[in-house]
Chain length 336, copies 2
Amino acid sequence: MTSSRPRPATIGDIARRAGVSTAAVSYVLNDAPGGARIPEETRERVRAAADEMGYVPGAGARSLRTGARDLVLYVRSDAAQGPLASEFLHGLSRALRGLGYTLMQYGAERDRGLEAARAWAALRPAAVLADDDRLTRAGVELLAKGGVPVVGLGSDPERARGTGLSTLVMDHRAIGRAAGRHLAGRGYRDLAAVLPAGPPLRAMGGERVEGVREAAAEAGAAVRVHDMAYSPESAAEVVAGWREEGLPRGVFGYNDEFSGLLLGALLDAGVRVPEEVGLVGADDLVLCRMLRPALSSVRMDGESSSATALRIAEVIAGGAEVHLSPWTPVPVRRAT
Amino acid sequence: MTSSRPRPATIGDIARRAGVSTAAVSYVLNDAPGGARIPEETRERVRAAADEMGYVPGAGARSLRTGARDLVLYVRSDAAQGPLASEFLHGLSRALRGLGYTLMQYGAERDRGLEAARAWAALRPAAVLADDDRLTRAGVELLAKGGVPVVGLGSDPERARGTGLSTLVMDHRAIGRAAGRHLAGRGYRDLAAVLPAGPPLRAMGGERVEGVREAAAEAGAAVRVHDMAYSPESAAEVVAGWREEGLPRGVFGYNDEFSGLLLGALLDAGVRVPEEVGLVGADDLVLCRMLRPALSSVRMDGESSSATALRIAEVIAGGAEVHLSPWTPVPVRRAT
């Protein structure tokens, strides 16, 4: 069976229908100065043909003509988005829109490195934002050759400095430090921290744990660290271990969601929260206010998405390397 | 200050550097049969120049050449994604990738209708998926003229039938019916259902409430309906109202997250759950197993994302209108 499916109309199609040259079509549709002598009647015929055929210039062709390249590509790793990332991207998308850019995202589960960078470059974006694990130096260089600046989300600013790669990071060590100081400030000296098992959360978790250790060292407190998967079963195992070896007094549960699972497991084990064990999450999701007792957390205060978008727009416009870390962790006290 | 920023290399640039015609460059880089007589030495010079200059053909140009159009565009409304949608899209993206398509999404807070459809068409996608509120009939027609099939997410299949618009819907009435039957099956005859205040959830919520009404009618039960915003304060108001007018025996909280807020407010008011008030959510998120008592819910069973992707790939390949509703709601009993 052959397909009778239409294809996008070209200026050649319009020229044939209107009985003029393709150059004339191009002059008329682009309102180009060179076409000033084309009679109005011909112009109308061309415009009518374009309308009838649903003509839309391809973005590639339009970019070559005007030099405008307004697509900002965000290449995500394979993880489904958490609520915080989803909200930030929503705000960033809105702010970039206000500056004339369109943020498009796609989840690239396997794509990384040079081959992937080629595919991104083919879309002729104004800039590429990418989760750090999608990037290699060769890929960043290929994009730079084509004038496409790259912002690595979560990329190490120290390693990036001078390579042309801009970075946008959340300071996970500072989050852990804020949580640890909050627990130490409640007088707790026997702390525990949870480390998510497996990528992509493990690297961030490791940084957060380091922050808890720093806060504990300041206060003369001890920290036990426990691997945990994002499941009720794994939370129950962590709590069972605590009941054998002795309950910690204060727990940092990596984020609100892991902490929510720990809270359920603690209550199931008959542990009183916060009287026996205090618990603090991170992200300050609405979830904290669903749980009973309500969950203490660490909120990320900072520049609005629009301020961050402006900084990213500077990268796009100027091509200069910048290193952004626009968030400051602030403890939010609830039950603990 | 003039920008010294590079632009993507063209075949003209490569031709100049290699000292050959642009036609020769095109033959070599495309491995075209017409270039069979070009000496290997020249071929190597062209390839070297292309590598040095970081040449990447634009996706638009490549599409025109091969007829391959592998971009599937997903146009989202303004709401940040919930966890269920995020997971589904992740699976769909992976499955489409396996079929040679790249799913790209962008949040179009204001874009809808004909003008928006023009911008989408300019990207020369293989297909457009769009949340129903982004679509108008004129926009769908414009895309169809260019051979771009459109799948409306949440679009009414009855209204779409015969217009060329394919649809992918979740049957919200069936979700409400499953929740209502679950509550009625526990023997409850005094039911309440929550309706999210404001778009985009309100339309779905209305369908779910209708489903609860159907189940209640079957069982001879009554249903009260209450507006609620997604906030602890609004949940507390709903519960305060119940305490004045008498507690319902069974509550459908629209989804797991609204139900989580209601559970917190019920416990704060000293109401015993499920002994005094039973509660059921929808989506069966991990959240259900964080809450205590654990939240009953409605899970969406159905075709895997890859099966749904195959059906969407059929639309892309064949252009035929299809109407998909691949999920079946199944109650999950926990505390209630």
